[in-house]
Assembly symmetry: C2
Homo-oligomer: 220 residues x 2
DNA sequence: GGTCAGTTTAACAAATTAGTCAAACAGAAT
DNA sequence: ATTCTGTTTGACTAATTTGTTAAACTGACC
């Protein structure tokens, strides 16, 4: 009943709270198909309930889509922000962001594709995202993301331990290298002739090779 | 007539070939909304024609979507492949890929988001993509992408002019840094507090900073 | 002027899909 | 046992959306 197709993964147990089961099913369906491509009936089927029940709990597709979007944000950003805002030394930040983010994305393969697609199709959500993120203001968030990091980078540049780089570029380059392969996963797999296992293995390797590459670029 | 909404850009002149006008309109709409979110009527409106005419020329939404997808592939890959497969020295390849790709993406801001979303929602298209790309076989394409480049990298590593790196990682890291910012454009703009002009300026800068960063990482 | 092929349109049909609602149901409290 | 509340369902509606078709139009050619 929860299992909807031969290759579908069984998700939330049937005895779990119905609302949770529906949200989990919605999460899975929205991730794979995107908001526009998702069908309320498919979500109901995947949750093992009548589709009227989905409306009973979430009223409209829009509300359900919002709930899923918020959840997706909550999975993607907090860890990374926490690491970057911490007092850990720069090398450790790089290694920890790469490892934590890759671990998370190995378990949520559709997350980057889903988030990027949603943001491209409904760019106004980018603002909503900023506000709903860790409950602070956008300005505050920027401070957390780039403040400490910027200070560390300034100091390192003065000491001559790191080549100068703006914190924005630092974060953008690092996130690019970590996230892009997952966002473009079907493309990367096809071009390199990989199967799922090979891709997973490559990304495990990249937990080490990305930080090595990245830190090498910042040698003075 | 072609202009459909206040903030819409006028596209193809009304006296252009009707089929071309429809394909251009479809291109624009599919890019912004994705295949699932696009409406045949919106395409017709944007092309300034009756929506039956869209079916007259392209039969079904699926066929039109395929035509647009093929066109998008044709815009995205050929230049990059050409540069990477060429005999230019490594440093020049890096600089030329970055510059050419960023130039192209500045003019097609929705392209990466569209392609990544389509590939995530319909992963089977990745195969189609490989085959329809430059008319060669996947194996042949891999050879063009990684063959010459691999030889150059091997030699450079032996000479001690470059740190050793596999051609696959070389390409993946480079493409990540170039493309990701465009794919995540609404997110990047929101987090960094940028407007369109600032984003464009940053990407112009990155034509130089990405190659610098990238080549610095490969110093021995 | 007439006709002929290709183009364009208005009107229509068919299917899909979000959302509603009254009735059935289940379990707890009285 | 009865009632009551929150849950679940089947049947329905309304709107949207893809696709079709016959007729109208247009310009080239005779």
């Amino acid at each position: 009943m929860v299992k909807t197709a031969a290759d579908e993964i069984v998700q939330t147990p049937l005895d779990a709270d119905t609302e949770t089961r529906i949200l989990d099913a919605a999460h899975a369906v929205f991730m794979r198909r995107g908001t526009a491509g998702a069908r309320m009936t498919e979500i109901a089927r995947e949750a093992g309930v009548n589709h009227a029940l989905v409306h009973y709990y979430f009223r409209s597709k829009q509300r359900l889509a919002d709930a899923v979007f918020r959840r997706a944000i909550g999975e993607f950003f907090p860890v990374m922000i926490g690491v970057l805002a911490s007092d850990a030394p720069l090398e450790e930040k790089v290694r920890r962001v790469a490892a934590a983010q890759i671990d998370m994305l190995q378990k949520n393969r559709y997350l980057p594709g889903y988030l990027l697609a949603e943001l491209n199709h409904y760019p106004e959500r980018a603002e909503q995202l900023l506000n709903s993120m860790s409950g602070t203001t956008p300005a505050n968030l920027r401070a957390r993301l780039f403040g400490t990091l910027g200070t560390q980078l300034d100091e390192a540049a003065r000491n001559g331990t790191f080549r100068a780089i703006r914190p924005q570029e630092f974060v953008l380059n690092l996130v690019s290298m970590v996230v892009y392969a997952f966002a473009a996963r079907p493309l990367v797999m096809a071009i390199m002739g990989m199967d799922d296992a090979t891709f997973t293995a490559m990304m495990e390797e990249r937990k080490a090779t990305i930080p090595a590459f990245f830190l090498a670029a910042l040698r003075p």
